[in-house]
């Protein structure tokens, strides 16, 4: 495994230096970097898949040629590379369902994330939120006001139209008068 001939360089991946970009938006650069990484990895993964899909003759470490089949075993990655590959972010655990705010609760165990479930959930979400060309659908990227903001708008009397207030008062009077006439002496 550690012999030089055991390693094969498949590709040198491009990097996107922020200082070389004309667009200075961090969000754009992050998105572009992620897109570049995965578009570069896609043909490599396809080639490795081809190796893994059929038997071939390989020269093993004992210098004997045997028939074998390659398989994906592990990914040797750094933290930033894990975040790029899993698209999870460096501040989240990619391997289990532990939410970000509970990362400090080391006594609890969480369900592991498996590729089948994640893949199907991601595909479903992509179909729901993205157009066919990969852009975000209308009103799927809006900033939704928080519950506090919603509540403030609802209870502010000045935001209500005058007619509505008048009608409401009228309704209250009507309810009072009708109930009084019905239930009164």
């Amino acid at each position: 495994m550690s012999r030089p001939y055991a390693w094969r360089v498949l590709a040198c991946l491009p990097i996107l230096k922020g200082s070389a970009c004309t667009k200075v938006s961090k969000e754009w650069q992050t998105q572009r970097r992620l897109s570049l990484y995965h578009s570069a990895m896609a043909p490599i993964i396809a080639e490795v898949n081809e190796i893994c899909s059929k038997d071939a003759y390989y020269r093993f470490a004992d210098k004997t040629v045997r028939k074998g089949r390659g398989f994906w075993h592990l990914l040797c990655m750094d933290g930033a590379e894990i975040a790029a590959a899993s698209m999870c972010g460096t501040d989240n655990c990619p391997t289990c369902e532990c939410p970000k705010e509970e990362l400090d609760s080391t006594e609890d165990t969480y369900r592991l994330r498996h590729i089948e479930a994640v893949r199907s959930a991601v595909e479903k979400a992509r179909a729901e939120h993205l157009n066919a060309d990969g852009t975000v659908k209308e009103r799927h990227k809006e900033k939704v006001p928080t519950s506090n903001n919603c509540l403030r708008v609802k209870i502010r009397p000045y935001s209500l139209p005058y007619n509505m207030l008048y009608d409401m008062l009228y309704d209250m009077l009507f309810a009072w008068s009708s109930s009084l006439t019905k239930n009164g002496p």
Binding site: Q31, I45, V48, D78, A85, S86, R113, V118, V122, E128
Partner: protein, 203 residues
Amino acid sequence: MVQLADEERALKHKLLVPNAYHKALDFDFLQAMPREELHQFLIGVYGDYVIPSTLYEIQQILRRPDLVTSKPGAENVRYLVSNEMLASVWARLRDRLSALDSSSSMVEVTVDYAAHFYDMYVDKHTGKHLTGERVRILLLTLPFLLRDLIAPEVTSHTYMLYGILYNMSYIICRSSMSTIQFVELSPALHCTNFSLFLIHVTV
């Protein structure tokens, strides 16, 4: 309506870019990745807290409150270990780090890495970072590199203190000689062992 950002947060997965690893054949890559716990320990605990606290402890030893040359309560405290001496300690640590090679310590450290370490932990450069694998090198080697790191400073302190003591003993000796003369001349103390005691103390 669930928004894109909320969905991404819930799934812990970005949605705008298709993930190439999802097409890997029979490969649960989420479980095949290195565990983050060790990585978090290396960067989050060892790199961020243990190494700075170790360097701080060394500095505190060399900058002990009693190792000052200025008067007590002085506004500008002059330390016995000057800034130049302290800088030479960190330079020595950097040189020790860069001197590591695979034949002696199973890891090879370049001069650039040692300079990066110096910039990050001594100069406190905020833009410098170390990856988990790089911090692992420090975890393996730093306990050995820190051994006798401040021995020259401690030795020089000892010499300094010996020098101070020598000067003090010389002063005491000179004063005691006059005292002895005074004692010898004093009829009241002439019969006591006070003069002999002073000779024992000062010699």
